[in-house]
Protein backbone atom coordinates (compact mmCIF):
# COMPACT_ATOMS: atom_id res chain seq x y z
CA UNK A 1 0.00 0.00 0.00
CA UNK A 2 2.71 2.43 0.96
CA UNK A 3 4.70 1.48 -2.08
CA UNK A 4 1.79 2.28 -4.36
CA UNK A 5 1.35 5.70 -2.76
CA UNK A 6 5.03 6.40 -3.15
CA UNK A 7 4.76 5.62 -6.84
CA UNK A 8 1.95 8.04 -7.66
CA UNK A 9 2.63 11.70 -8.18
CA UNK A 10 1.23 13.78 -5.34
CA UNK A 11 0.85 17.43 -6.19
CA UNK A 12 1.10 20.06 -3.51
CA UNK A 13 -1.30 22.95 -3.14
CA UNK A 14 1.47 25.37 -4.01
CA UNK A 15 2.13 23.61 -7.29
CA UNK A 16 -1.55 23.66 -8.21
CA UNK A 17 -1.86 27.34 -7.42
CA UNK A 18 1.27 28.08 -9.45
CA UNK A 19 -0.08 26.28 -12.50
CA UNK A 20 -3.40 28.11 -12.28
CA UNK A 21 -1.81 31.52 -11.80
CA UNK A 22 0.55 30.99 -14.69
CA UNK A 23 -2.34 30.04 -16.94
CA UNK A 24 -4.10 33.29 -16.14
CA UNK A 25 -1.28 35.02 -18.00
CA UNK A 26 -1.31 32.33 -20.71
CA UNK A 27 1.94 30.69 -19.67
CA UNK A 28 2.29 26.99 -19.05
CA UNK A 29 4.70 25.32 -16.67
CA UNK A 30 7.29 24.55 -19.33
CA UNK A 31 7.01 27.98 -20.96
CA UNK A 32 4.62 27.03 -23.76
CA UNK A 33 1.54 29.01 -24.74
CA UNK A 34 -1.83 27.32 -24.22
CA UNK A 35 -2.09 25.87 -27.73
CA UNK A 36 1.52 24.98 -28.40
CA UNK A 37 2.67 21.45 -29.04
CA UNK A 38 5.93 20.06 -27.74
CA UNK A 39 8.73 19.05 -30.09
CA UNK A 40 7.69 16.06 -32.14
CA UNK A 41 10.35 13.69 -33.52
CA UNK A 42 9.46 10.59 -35.49
CA UNK A 43 12.12 7.96 -36.03
CA UNK A 44 11.94 4.60 -37.72
CA UNK A 45 13.64 1.36 -36.84
CA UNK A 46 15.65 -0.82 -39.16
CA UNK A 47 12.68 -3.07 -39.88
CA UNK A 48 9.63 -2.02 -41.83
CA UNK A 49 6.71 -1.06 -39.66
CA UNK A 50 8.55 0.01 -36.54
CA UNK A 51 8.45 3.60 -35.37
CA UNK A 52 9.56 5.58 -32.35
CA UNK A 53 7.82 8.84 -31.55
CA UNK A 54 9.06 11.39 -29.07
CA UNK A 55 6.68 14.18 -28.04
CA UNK A 56 8.63 16.27 -25.56
CA UNK A 57 9.49 13.77 -22.84
CA UNK A 58 6.90 11.18 -23.85
CA UNK A 59 8.29 8.27 -25.87
CA UNK A 60 6.21 5.63 -27.61
CA UNK A 61 7.28 2.66 -29.73
CA UNK A 62 4.99 1.10 -32.30
CA UNK A 63 5.49 -2.20 -34.14
CA UNK A 64 3.29 -3.45 -36.94
CA UNK A 65 3.32 -7.11 -37.95
CA UNK A 66 1.13 -9.10 -40.30
CA UNK A 67 -0.08 -12.66 -40.36
CA UNK A 68 -2.19 -14.72 -42.72
CA UNK A 69 -5.35 -15.98 -41.03
CA UNK A 70 -8.86 -17.09 -41.81
CA UNK A 71 -11.27 -14.20 -42.13
CA UNK A 72 -14.35 -13.64 -40.00
CA UNK A 73 -17.41 -15.47 -41.30
CA UNK A 74 -19.47 -12.36 -41.83
CA UNK A 75 -16.64 -10.52 -43.61
CA UNK A 76 -14.96 -12.97 -45.94
CA UNK A 77 -13.46 -10.29 -48.15
CA UNK A 78 -11.81 -8.15 -45.55
CA UNK A 79 -8.65 -8.40 -43.54
CA UNK A 80 -8.50 -7.22 -39.96
CA UNK A 81 -6.30 -5.24 -37.68
CA UNK A 82 -5.95 -5.14 -33.92
CA UNK A 83 -4.19 -2.80 -31.54
CA UNK A 84 -2.39 -3.99 -28.43
CA UNK A 85 -1.32 -1.38 -25.92
CA UNK A 86 1.36 -1.94 -23.33
CA UNK A 87 1.93 0.53 -20.57
CA UNK A 88 5.43 -0.64 -19.88
CA UNK A 89 6.59 -0.38 -16.26
CA UNK A 90 9.58 1.52 -17.59
CA UNK A 91 7.38 4.46 -18.49
CA UNK A 92 6.18 5.23 -15.00
CA UNK A 93 6.73 3.63 -11.62
CA UNK A 94 2.97 3.50 -11.11
CA UNK A 95 2.41 1.28 -14.17
CA UNK A 96 2.04 -2.27 -12.98
CA UNK A 97 3.15 -5.12 -15.20
CA UNK A 98 0.53 -7.67 -16.18
CA UNK A 99 -3.01 -6.91 -17.22
CA UNK A 100 -3.53 -3.48 -18.75
CA UNK A 101 -5.28 -0.97 -16.52
CA UNK A 102 -8.18 1.31 -17.38
CA UNK A 103 -6.10 4.06 -18.95
CA UNK A 104 -4.21 1.58 -21.10
CA UNK A 105 -7.44 0.09 -22.39
CA UNK A 106 -8.87 3.55 -22.99
CA UNK A 107 -5.83 4.59 -25.00
CA UNK A 108 -6.00 1.42 -27.06
CA UNK A 109 -9.68 1.97 -27.75
CA UNK A 110 -9.18 5.58 -28.84
CA UNK A 111 -6.45 4.67 -31.33
CA UNK A 112 -8.42 1.66 -32.50
CA UNK A 113 -11.66 3.58 -33.07
CA UNK A 114 -9.80 6.36 -34.85
CA UNK A 115 -8.44 3.89 -37.38
CA UNK A 116 -11.40 1.55 -37.61
CA UNK A 117 -14.46 3.77 -37.68
CA UNK A 118 -12.92 6.29 -40.04
CA UNK A 119 -11.89 3.39 -42.28
CA UNK A 120 -8.38 4.76 -42.54
CA UNK A 121 -6.84 1.31 -43.09
CA UNK A 122 -8.16 -0.31 -46.26
CA UNK A 123 -9.14 -3.78 -45.10
CA UNK A 124 -10.41 -5.03 -48.45
CA UNK A 125 -6.94 -4.80 -49.95
CA UNK A 126 -5.79 -7.19 -47.23
CA UNK A 127 -7.81 -10.03 -48.69
CA UNK A 128 -5.80 -12.73 -50.47
CA UNK A 129 -8.23 -15.57 -51.11
CA UNK A 130 -11.80 -14.55 -50.34
CA UNK A 131 -13.25 -16.55 -47.52
CA UNK A 132 -10.05 -18.47 -46.82
CA UNK A 133 -6.93 -16.40 -46.35
CA UNK A 134 -6.65 -12.75 -45.36
CA UNK A 135 -4.01 -10.60 -43.74
CA UNK A 136 -4.40 -9.78 -40.08
CA UNK A 137 -2.41 -6.74 -39.04
CA UNK A 138 -1.28 -6.43 -35.46
CA UNK A 139 -0.16 -3.08 -34.04
CA UNK A 140 1.76 -3.17 -30.76
CA UNK A 141 2.11 0.12 -28.92
CA UNK A 142 4.69 0.29 -26.15
CA UNK A 143 4.71 3.35 -23.94
CA UNK A 144 8.26 3.59 -22.70
CA UNK A 145 8.36 7.07 -21.17
CA UNK A 146 5.37 8.83 -19.63
CA UNK A 147 5.72 12.57 -20.06
CA UNK A 148 2.02 13.26 -20.51
CA UNK A 149 -0.34 13.21 -23.50
CA UNK A 150 0.10 9.52 -24.22
CA UNK A 151 -2.93 9.39 -26.53
CA UNK A 152 -1.54 11.81 -29.09
CA UNK A 153 1.93 10.31 -29.10
CA UNK A 154 0.60 6.75 -29.36
CA UNK A 155 -1.67 7.70 -32.23
CA UNK A 156 1.17 9.32 -34.16
CA UNK A 157 3.38 6.29 -33.54
CA UNK A 158 0.67 3.93 -34.80
CA UNK A 159 0.16 6.01 -37.94
CA UNK A 160 3.88 6.27 -38.65
CA UNK A 161 4.38 2.53 -38.20
CA UNK A 162 1.40 1.71 -40.40
CA UNK A 163 2.72 3.99 -43.12
CA UNK A 164 6.06 2.25 -43.27
CA UNK A 165 4.87 -1.33 -42.82
CA UNK A 166 5.36 -3.64 -45.81
CA UNK A 167 3.69 -6.97 -46.26
CA UNK A 168 5.10 -9.68 -48.53
CA UNK A 169 3.44 -10.00 -51.89
CA UNK A 170 1.23 -13.07 -52.38
CA UNK A 171 0.10 -14.50 -55.63
CA UNK A 172 -2.71 -16.96 -56.02
CA UNK A 173 -2.11 -19.61 -58.64
CA UNK A 174 -2.39 -23.27 -59.25
CA UNK A 175 -5.05 -25.21 -61.06
CA UNK A 176 -8.08 -24.18 -59.06
CA UNK A 177 -6.78 -20.78 -58.04
CA UNK A 178 -6.27 -21.93 -54.46
CA UNK A 179 -2.51 -22.29 -54.35
CA UNK A 180 -0.91 -19.47 -52.45
CA UNK A 181 2.70 -18.43 -52.88
CA UNK A 182 4.16 -15.88 -50.51
CA UNK A 183 7.12 -14.17 -52.11
CA UNK A 184 10.07 -13.41 -49.82
CA UNK A 185 11.12 -9.76 -49.66
CA UNK A 186 14.29 -10.21 -51.71
CA UNK A 187 12.42 -11.88 -54.56
CA UNK A 188 9.57 -9.42 -54.87
CA UNK A 189 9.28 -6.03 -53.28
CA UNK A 190 6.87 -6.13 -50.32
CA UNK A 191 3.77 -3.97 -50.59
CA UNK A 192 2.80 -1.09 -48.32
CA UNK A 193 -0.59 -0.86 -46.64
CA UNK A 194 -3.23 1.35 -48.19
CA UNK A 195 -4.04 4.19 -45.79
CA UNK A 196 -6.79 6.48 -46.98
CA UNK A 197 -6.13 9.27 -44.50
CA UNK A 198 -4.52 9.93 -41.15
CA UNK A 199 -6.81 10.17 -38.13
CA UNK A 200 -4.89 12.40 -35.74
CA UNK A 201 -5.76 12.73 -32.06
CA UNK A 202 -5.47 16.11 -30.37
CA UNK A 203 -5.95 16.21 -26.62
CA UNK A 204 -7.25 19.22 -24.72
CA UNK A 205 -7.09 19.69 -20.98
CA UNK A 206 -9.54 21.84 -19.10
CA UNK A 207 -8.33 23.33 -15.87
CA UNK A 208 -11.20 24.28 -13.63
CA UNK A 209 -11.46 26.43 -10.60
CA UNK A 210 -10.32 23.95 -8.00
CA UNK A 211 -9.11 20.74 -9.53
CA UNK A 212 -7.21 19.81 -12.64
CA UNK A 213 -9.87 18.18 -14.72
CA UNK A 214 -9.45 15.66 -17.56
CA UNK A 215 -11.20 16.48 -20.79
CA UNK A 216 -14.76 15.24 -20.54
CA UNK A 217 -14.92 15.17 -16.76
CA UNK A 218 -16.75 18.42 -16.10
CA UNK A 219 -19.41 19.96 -18.26
CA UNK A 220 -17.95 22.03 -21.07
CA UNK A 221 -19.69 24.80 -22.98
CA UNK A 222 -20.60 24.19 -26.60
CA UNK A 223 -18.71 27.27 -27.78
CA UNK A 224 -15.61 26.00 -26.07
CA UNK A 225 -15.94 22.69 -27.89
CA UNK A 226 -16.27 24.49 -31.22
CA UNK A 227 -13.15 26.45 -30.47
CA UNK A 228 -11.32 23.25 -29.60
CA UNK A 229 -12.45 21.68 -32.86
CA UNK A 230 -11.10 24.58 -34.85
CA UNK A 231 -7.75 24.48 -33.07
CA UNK A 232 -7.63 20.71 -33.38
CA UNK A 233 -8.12 20.79 -37.15
CA UNK A 234 -5.20 23.18 -37.53
CA UNK A 235 -2.98 21.05 -35.29
CA UNK A 236 -4.04 17.87 -37.06
CA UNK A 237 -2.97 19.30 -40.41
CA UNK A 238 0.35 20.24 -38.89
CA UNK A 239 0.96 16.80 -37.42
CA UNK A 240 -0.14 15.04 -40.61
CA UNK A 241 2.42 16.95 -42.64
CA UNK A 242 5.12 16.07 -40.12
CA UNK A 243 4.26 12.38 -40.29
CA UNK A 244 4.19 12.44 -44.08
CA UNK A 245 7.58 14.15 -44.27
CA UNK A 246 9.13 11.64 -41.92
CA UNK A 247 7.64 8.70 -43.84
CA UNK A 248 8.81 10.14 -47.15
CA UNK A 249 12.39 10.54 -45.98
CA UNK A 250 12.30 6.99 -44.61
CA UNK A 251 11.04 5.68 -47.92
CA UNK A 252 13.69 7.49 -49.93
CA UNK A 253 16.37 6.11 -47.61
CA UNK A 254 14.91 2.66 -48.03
CA UNK A 255 14.88 2.83 -51.81
CA UNK A 256 18.41 4.26 -51.80
CA UNK A 257 19.53 1.30 -49.74
CA UNK A 258 18.00 -1.04 -52.29
CA UNK A 259 19.56 0.80 -55.20
CA UNK A 260 22.99 0.63 -53.62
CA UNK A 261 22.66 -3.10 -53.21
CA UNK A 262 21.82 -3.56 -56.88
CA UNK A 263 24.08 -0.99 -58.58
CA UNK A 264 27.50 -2.31 -57.57
CA UNK A 265 26.50 -5.87 -58.44
CA UNK A 266 25.43 -4.91 -61.95
CA UNK A 267 28.54 -2.84 -62.55
CA UNK A 268 30.92 -5.42 -61.14
CA UNK A 269 30.47 -8.16 -63.70
CA UNK A 270 32.42 -6.18 -66.26
CA UNK A 271 34.92 -4.57 -63.93
CA UNK A 272 38.09 -6.11 -62.55
CA UNK A 273 38.27 -7.00 -58.87
CA UNK A 274 40.46 -4.14 -57.72
CA UNK A 275 37.95 -1.58 -58.98
CA UNK A 276 35.17 -2.93 -56.81
CA UNK A 277 36.96 -1.79 -53.68
CA UNK A 278 36.59 1.85 -54.66
CA UNK A 279 32.94 1.87 -55.63
CA UNK A 280 31.43 0.96 -52.25
CA UNK A 281 33.52 3.64 -50.60
CA UNK A 282 32.32 6.37 -52.92
CA UNK A 283 28.71 5.35 -52.47
CA UNK A 284 28.93 4.88 -48.76
CA UNK A 285 29.51 8.61 -48.37
CA UNK A 286 25.84 9.09 -49.21
CA UNK A 287 24.76 6.76 -46.44
CA UNK A 288 26.79 8.82 -44.01
CA UNK A 289 24.95 11.96 -45.05
CA UNK A 290 21.65 10.15 -44.75
CA UNK A 291 22.43 8.77 -41.31
CA UNK A 292 23.58 12.14 -40.11
CA UNK A 293 20.47 13.81 -41.41
CA UNK A 294 18.11 11.60 -39.44
CA UNK A 295 16.07 13.75 -37.07
CA UNK A 296 17.94 14.25 -33.85
CA UNK A 297 16.10 13.88 -30.59
CA UNK A 298 15.71 16.69 -28.12
CA UNK A 299 17.28 14.83 -25.21
CA UNK A 300 21.07 14.71 -25.00
CA UNK A 301 22.13 11.52 -26.68
CA UNK A 302 25.42 10.02 -25.74
CA UNK A 303 27.18 8.10 -28.47
CA UNK A 304 30.60 6.69 -28.16
CA UNK A 305 33.42 8.28 -30.08
CA UNK A 306 36.18 5.78 -30.33
CA UNK A 307 38.76 4.86 -32.88
CA UNK A 308 37.87 1.63 -34.59
CA UNK A 309 40.66 -0.87 -34.26
CA UNK A 310 40.97 -3.63 -36.74
CA UNK A 311 43.16 -6.53 -35.83
CA UNK A 312 43.59 -9.06 -38.59
CA UNK A 313 42.64 -12.37 -37.04
CA UNK A 314 45.08 -15.16 -37.59
CA UNK A 315 43.36 -18.26 -38.70
CA UNK A 316 44.77 -20.44 -35.95
CA UNK A 317 44.80 -18.32 -32.83
CA UNK A 318 41.35 -17.59 -31.58
CA UNK A 319 42.39 -15.13 -28.96
CA UNK A 320 42.68 -12.15 -31.23
CA UNK A 321 39.40 -10.61 -32.19
CA UNK A 322 38.70 -7.53 -34.19
CA UNK A 323 35.92 -5.23 -33.22
CA UNK A 324 34.24 -2.26 -34.71
CA UNK A 325 32.60 0.39 -32.64
CA UNK A 326 30.14 2.67 -34.39
CA UNK A 327 30.37 6.35 -33.72
CA UNK A 328 29.12 9.64 -35.04
CA UNK A 329 32.25 10.33 -37.07
CA UNK A 330 32.15 9.48 -40.71
CA UNK A 331 35.36 7.41 -40.81
CA UNK A 332 34.01 4.56 -38.75
CA UNK A 333 30.73 4.45 -40.60
CA UNK A 334 32.50 4.01 -43.92
CA UNK A 335 34.50 1.14 -42.51
CA UNK A 336 31.32 -0.54 -41.40
CA UNK A 337 29.58 0.21 -44.66
CA UNK A 338 32.22 -1.12 -47.03
CA UNK A 339 32.52 -4.73 -45.80
CA UNK A 340 28.76 -5.16 -46.01
CA UNK A 341 28.65 -3.91 -49.55
CA UNK A 342 31.84 -5.66 -50.51
CA UNK A 343 30.33 -8.98 -49.52
CA UNK A 344 27.47 -8.45 -51.96
CA UNK A 345 29.70 -7.14 -54.72
CA UNK A 346 32.43 -9.76 -54.33
CA UNK A 347 30.00 -12.63 -54.25
CA UNK A 348 28.19 -11.36 -57.27
CA UNK A 349 31.50 -10.73 -58.95
CA UNK A 350 33.05 -14.08 -58.20
CA UNK A 351 30.30 -16.40 -59.37
CA UNK A 352 29.90 -15.30 -62.99
CA UNK A 353 33.67 -15.08 -63.46
CA UNK A 354 34.25 -18.63 -62.27
CA UNK A 355 31.51 -19.88 -64.53
CA UNK A 356 33.10 -18.16 -67.49
CA UNK A 357 36.53 -19.53 -66.65
CA UNK A 358 35.22 -23.05 -66.32
CA UNK A 359 33.48 -22.83 -69.65
CA UNK A 360 36.59 -21.48 -71.37
CA UNK A 361 38.83 -24.17 -69.87
CA UNK A 362 36.39 -26.90 -70.83
CA UNK A 363 36.28 -25.51 -74.35
CA UNK A 364 40.07 -25.49 -74.47
CA UNK A 365 40.15 -29.08 -73.24
CA UNK A 366 37.61 -30.15 -75.78
CA UNK A 367 39.64 -28.53 -78.52
Amino acid sequence: MEQRLANTLIMTVNEKKFIENALVSDIRVDGRRPFDYRNLTIRFGSEDGSSEVQLGKTQVLAFVTGQLVQPYRDRPNEGSFAIYTEFSPMADPSFEPGRPGDSAIELGRIVDRGLRESRAVDTESLCVIAGKVVWSIRIDLHIIDNGGNLVDAANIAALAALSTFRRPECTVGGEDGQELTIHPPDVREPLPLILHHFPVAVTFGFIGKENIVKAGGDGVLQSVIMQCLRIASVKAGDITSKIKNAVESYNTQRSLRKIKRHNPSSAVSNVAKHHTVREPNSQSVDTNALRASQPSCATPVDKLNEESTQVNPETKSTQQSSDMNSSASTHEVTDIGSPEKQSNTLKDAVKPKHKRRKKSTSNVNAN
Binding site: Q3, M90, P300, D302, T315, K341
Partner: protein, 243 residues
Protein backbone atom coordinates in the same frame (compact mmCIF):
# COMPACT_ATOMS: atom_id res chain seq x y z
CA UNK B 1 39.63 -22.07 -43.77
CA UNK B 2 37.63 -18.87 -43.45
CA UNK B 3 33.92 -19.01 -42.84
CA UNK B 4 31.84 -16.96 -45.22
CA UNK B 5 29.43 -14.73 -43.26
CA UNK B 6 26.43 -13.12 -44.83
CA UNK B 7 27.30 -9.55 -43.89
CA UNK B 8 30.96 -9.89 -44.73
CA UNK B 9 32.33 -10.07 -41.21
CA UNK B 10 35.26 -12.24 -40.26
CA UNK B 11 34.52 -15.05 -37.78
CA UNK B 12 36.02 -13.06 -34.91
CA UNK B 13 34.35 -9.79 -35.69
CA UNK B 14 31.54 -8.34 -33.61
CA UNK B 15 28.89 -6.08 -35.02
CA UNK B 16 29.24 -2.35 -34.33
CA UNK B 17 27.94 -1.42 -30.89
CA UNK B 18 26.00 1.72 -30.02
CA UNK B 19 25.39 2.46 -26.35
CA UNK B 20 23.26 5.39 -25.23
CA UNK B 21 22.61 6.27 -21.61
CA UNK B 22 19.91 8.47 -20.18
CA UNK B 23 17.37 7.67 -22.87
CA UNK B 24 14.28 7.94 -20.65
CA UNK B 25 13.19 10.73 -18.32
CA UNK B 26 10.95 9.06 -15.75
CA UNK B 27 13.20 6.10 -15.13
CA UNK B 28 15.94 6.47 -12.54
CA UNK B 29 18.41 4.99 -14.98
CA UNK B 30 18.09 3.94 -18.57
CA UNK B 31 20.25 2.76 -21.43
CA UNK B 32 19.80 1.62 -24.98
CA UNK B 33 22.21 -0.92 -26.41
CA UNK B 34 22.39 -1.82 -30.08
CA UNK B 35 24.61 -4.53 -31.58
CA UNK B 36 24.17 -4.16 -35.31
CA UNK B 37 20.41 -4.37 -35.78
CA UNK B 38 19.63 -5.95 -32.41
CA UNK B 39 18.43 -3.15 -30.16
CA UNK B 40 17.30 -3.30 -26.52
CA UNK B 41 16.22 -0.54 -24.12
CA UNK B 42 16.67 -1.09 -20.40
CA UNK B 43 15.21 1.03 -17.59
CA UNK B 44 15.98 0.84 -13.87
CA UNK B 45 13.76 1.94 -11.01
CA UNK B 46 15.06 1.70 -7.53
CA UNK B 47 15.84 1.01 -4.87
CA UNK B 48 12.22 0.98 -3.75
CA UNK B 49 11.11 0.10 -0.25
CA UNK B 50 10.22 -3.47 0.58
CA UNK B 51 10.98 -6.84 -0.91
CA UNK B 52 8.70 -9.50 -2.30
CA UNK B 53 7.34 -12.26 -0.10
CA UNK B 54 9.81 -15.04 -0.80
CA UNK B 55 12.88 -12.88 -1.00
CA UNK B 56 15.51 -12.44 1.65
CA UNK B 57 14.86 -9.10 3.42
CA UNK B 58 18.47 -8.85 4.56
CA UNK B 59 19.58 -8.21 1.01
CA UNK B 60 18.42 -6.06 -1.86
CA UNK B 61 16.10 -7.77 -4.30
CA UNK B 62 16.45 -7.53 -8.07
CA UNK B 63 13.29 -7.78 -10.16
CA UNK B 64 13.46 -8.15 -13.94
CA UNK B 65 10.57 -7.54 -16.33
CA UNK B 66 11.14 -8.54 -19.94
CA UNK B 67 8.86 -7.03 -22.57
CA UNK B 68 8.99 -8.71 -25.99
CA UNK B 69 8.58 -6.73 -29.17
CA UNK B 70 5.21 -8.20 -30.12
CA UNK B 71 2.92 -10.69 -28.49
CA UNK B 72 2.30 -11.81 -24.97
CA UNK B 73 5.04 -12.61 -22.49
CA UNK B 74 5.43 -16.36 -22.43
CA UNK B 75 7.85 -19.01 -21.29
CA UNK B 76 10.91 -17.78 -23.24
CA UNK B 77 10.48 -14.37 -21.59
CA UNK B 78 10.36 -16.00 -18.17
CA UNK B 79 13.61 -17.79 -18.94
CA UNK B 80 15.29 -14.56 -20.02
CA UNK B 81 14.06 -12.84 -16.86
CA UNK B 82 15.48 -15.60 -14.71
CA UNK B 83 18.89 -15.57 -16.40
CA UNK B 84 19.08 -11.81 -16.23
CA UNK B 85 18.05 -11.78 -12.59
CA UNK B 86 20.71 -14.29 -11.58
CA UNK B 87 23.38 -12.47 -13.58
CA UNK B 88 22.56 -9.06 -12.18
CA UNK B 89 22.29 -10.41 -8.64
CA UNK B 90 25.88 -11.53 -8.85
CA UNK B 91 27.17 -8.12 -9.95
CA UNK B 92 25.14 -5.92 -7.61
CA UNK B 93 26.23 -5.16 -4.06
CA UNK B 94 23.18 -6.53 -2.36
CA UNK B 95 24.12 -5.66 1.20
CA UNK B 96 24.26 -1.91 0.66
CA UNK B 97 20.48 -1.44 0.57
CA UNK B 98 18.80 -4.30 2.40
CA UNK B 99 15.04 -4.75 2.19
CA UNK B 100 14.71 -2.88 -1.08
CA UNK B 101 13.67 -3.83 -4.58
CA UNK B 102 15.40 -2.65 -7.73
CA UNK B 103 13.30 -3.16 -10.84
CA UNK B 104 14.87 -3.56 -14.27
CA UNK B 105 12.57 -3.41 -17.29
CA UNK B 106 13.87 -4.66 -20.63
CA UNK B 107 12.12 -3.70 -23.86
CA UNK B 108 13.14 -5.48 -27.05
CA UNK B 109 13.13 -3.01 -29.93
CA UNK B 110 14.57 -5.31 -32.56
CA UNK B 111 15.88 -8.86 -32.49
CA UNK B 112 18.59 -9.70 -34.99
CA UNK B 113 20.51 -12.36 -33.09
CA UNK B 114 22.36 -12.36 -29.75
CA UNK B 115 19.37 -10.86 -27.94
CA UNK B 116 20.15 -11.96 -24.40
CA UNK B 117 23.76 -10.67 -24.39
CA UNK B 118 22.52 -7.37 -25.78
CA UNK B 119 19.94 -7.18 -22.98
CA UNK B 120 22.52 -7.98 -20.30
CA UNK B 121 24.81 -5.25 -21.59
CA UNK B 122 21.92 -2.79 -21.71
CA UNK B 123 20.82 -3.69 -18.18
CA UNK B 124 24.35 -3.24 -16.87
CA UNK B 125 24.65 0.21 -18.45
CA UNK B 126 21.22 1.17 -17.11
CA UNK B 127 22.26 0.11 -13.60
CA UNK B 128 25.33 2.33 -13.85
CA UNK B 129 23.15 5.17 -15.13
CA UNK B 130 20.87 4.76 -12.10
CA UNK B 131 23.78 4.74 -9.71
CA UNK B 132 23.06 1.30 -8.25
CA UNK B 133 26.20 0.07 -6.43
CA UNK B 134 27.88 -2.69 -8.40
CA UNK B 135 30.89 -4.90 -7.75
CA UNK B 136 31.98 -4.79 -11.36
CA UNK B 137 30.36 -4.61 -14.78
CA UNK B 138 29.06 -7.57 -16.71
CA UNK B 139 30.04 -7.94 -20.35
CA UNK B 140 28.04 -10.40 -22.41
CA UNK B 141 28.92 -11.99 -25.72
CA UNK B 142 27.51 -14.71 -27.93
CA UNK B 143 29.62 -17.39 -29.63
CA UNK B 144 28.28 -20.06 -31.89
CA UNK B 145 29.41 -23.20 -33.64
CA UNK B 146 28.94 -23.56 -37.37
CA UNK B 147 28.20 -26.93 -38.96
CA UNK B 148 31.80 -27.19 -40.19
CA UNK B 149 33.12 -26.92 -36.64
CA UNK B 150 34.24 -23.29 -36.63
CA UNK B 151 33.47 -20.87 -33.88
CA UNK B 152 32.08 -17.47 -34.82
CA UNK B 153 31.30 -14.43 -32.74
CA UNK B 154 28.11 -12.38 -32.43
CA UNK B 155 25.78 -14.15 -34.87
CA UNK B 156 22.92 -12.42 -36.61
CA UNK B 157 19.43 -13.92 -36.60
CA UNK B 158 19.95 -15.86 -39.83
CA UNK B 159 23.26 -17.26 -38.61
CA UNK B 160 21.72 -18.23 -35.26
CA UNK B 161 19.00 -20.23 -36.95
CA UNK B 162 21.50 -22.20 -38.99
CA UNK B 163 23.89 -22.89 -36.14
CA UNK B 164 24.69 -26.25 -34.65
CA UNK B 165 24.93 -24.73 -31.19
CA UNK B 166 25.47 -21.38 -29.57
CA UNK B 167 26.42 -20.13 -26.15
CA UNK B 168 25.83 -16.84 -24.36
CA UNK B 169 28.72 -15.95 -22.09
CA UNK B 170 28.89 -13.22 -19.49
CA UNK B 171 32.24 -12.16 -18.09
CA UNK B 172 33.13 -9.60 -15.47
CA UNK B 173 34.84 -6.61 -16.96
CA UNK B 174 38.57 -6.28 -16.69
CA UNK B 175 39.78 -4.53 -13.61
CA UNK B 176 42.21 -1.66 -13.74
CA UNK B 177 43.85 -1.53 -10.37
CA UNK B 178 46.66 0.49 -8.83
CA UNK B 179 48.46 -2.59 -7.54
CA UNK B 180 50.22 -4.59 -10.22
CA UNK B 181 48.61 -7.90 -9.32
CA UNK B 182 45.61 -6.42 -7.54
CA UNK B 183 43.25 -8.17 -9.89
CA UNK B 184 44.60 -11.65 -9.21
CA UNK B 185 42.83 -14.07 -7.01
CA UNK B 186 44.76 -16.24 -4.50
CA UNK B 187 44.96 -19.01 -7.09
CA UNK B 188 46.93 -16.73 -9.43
CA UNK B 189 44.12 -16.52 -11.96
CA UNK B 190 42.97 -13.09 -13.05
CA UNK B 191 39.53 -11.96 -11.94
CA UNK B 192 38.28 -11.29 -15.42
CA UNK B 193 38.75 -14.90 -16.41
CA UNK B 194 35.80 -15.98 -14.36
CA UNK B 195 32.49 -16.63 -16.04
CA UNK B 196 29.39 -15.11 -14.50
CA UNK B 197 26.81 -16.77 -16.73
CA UNK B 198 26.87 -19.33 -19.49
CA UNK B 199 23.73 -20.34 -21.39
CA UNK B 200 24.07 -22.94 -24.11
CA UNK B 201 21.67 -24.04 -26.81
CA UNK B 202 22.24 -27.08 -28.93
CA UNK B 203 24.88 -29.76 -28.79
CA UNK B 204 28.60 -29.08 -28.82
CA UNK B 205 31.69 -31.00 -27.77
CA UNK B 206 33.51 -30.02 -24.58
CA UNK B 207 36.58 -28.87 -26.52
CA UNK B 208 34.39 -26.72 -28.72
CA UNK B 209 32.82 -25.19 -25.65
CA UNK B 210 36.22 -24.27 -24.27
CA UNK B 211 37.28 -22.73 -27.56
CA UNK B 212 34.07 -20.69 -27.49
CA UNK B 213 34.96 -19.54 -24.00
CA UNK B 214 38.44 -18.52 -25.11
CA UNK B 215 37.09 -16.55 -28.04
CA UNK B 216 34.38 -15.00 -25.91
CA UNK B 217 36.83 -13.94 -23.24
CA UNK B 218 39.02 -12.12 -25.74
CA UNK B 219 36.04 -10.37 -27.27
CA UNK B 220 34.69 -9.49 -23.84
CA UNK B 221 37.99 -7.88 -22.88
CA UNK B 222 37.70 -5.49 -25.80
CA UNK B 223 34.01 -4.90 -25.19
CA UNK B 224 34.69 -4.12 -21.54
CA UNK B 225 37.13 -1.39 -22.57
CA UNK B 226 34.40 0.06 -24.76
CA UNK B 227 31.87 -0.08 -21.91
CA UNK B 228 34.25 1.53 -19.47
CA UNK B 229 35.01 4.39 -21.86
CA UNK B 230 31.39 4.98 -22.74
CA UNK B 231 30.34 5.08 -19.10
CA UNK B 232 33.17 7.45 -18.23
CA UNK B 233 32.17 9.99 -20.87
CA UNK B 234 28.71 10.60 -19.48
CA UNK B 235 29.66 11.01 -15.83
CA UNK B 236 31.13 14.47 -16.14
CA UNK B 237 28.76 15.96 -18.69
CA UNK B 238 25.26 15.78 -17.33
CA UNK B 239 24.59 18.19 -14.44
CA UNK B 240 21.06 16.88 -13.95
CA UNK B 241 22.32 13.50 -12.84
CA UNK B 242 24.68 14.93 -10.24
CA UNK B 243 23.46 14.98 -6.66
Amino acid sequence: MEVDRADGRTPNQRRPVVCTRGVLHRAHGSASWAQGDTKVIAAVYGPKAGTKKNENPEKACIEVIWKPKTGQSGKPEREYEMVLKKTLQSICLLNVHPNTTTTIVIQVVNDDGALLPCAINAACSALVDAGIPLKHLAVAICCCMVESGHVILDPSKLEEQNMKAFVYLVFPNSIISVLPDGSKRPGGEAMEHGIITSVTHGVMAVDDYFSCVKLGRAAAAELSDFVRNSLKLKAGNDPSKVG
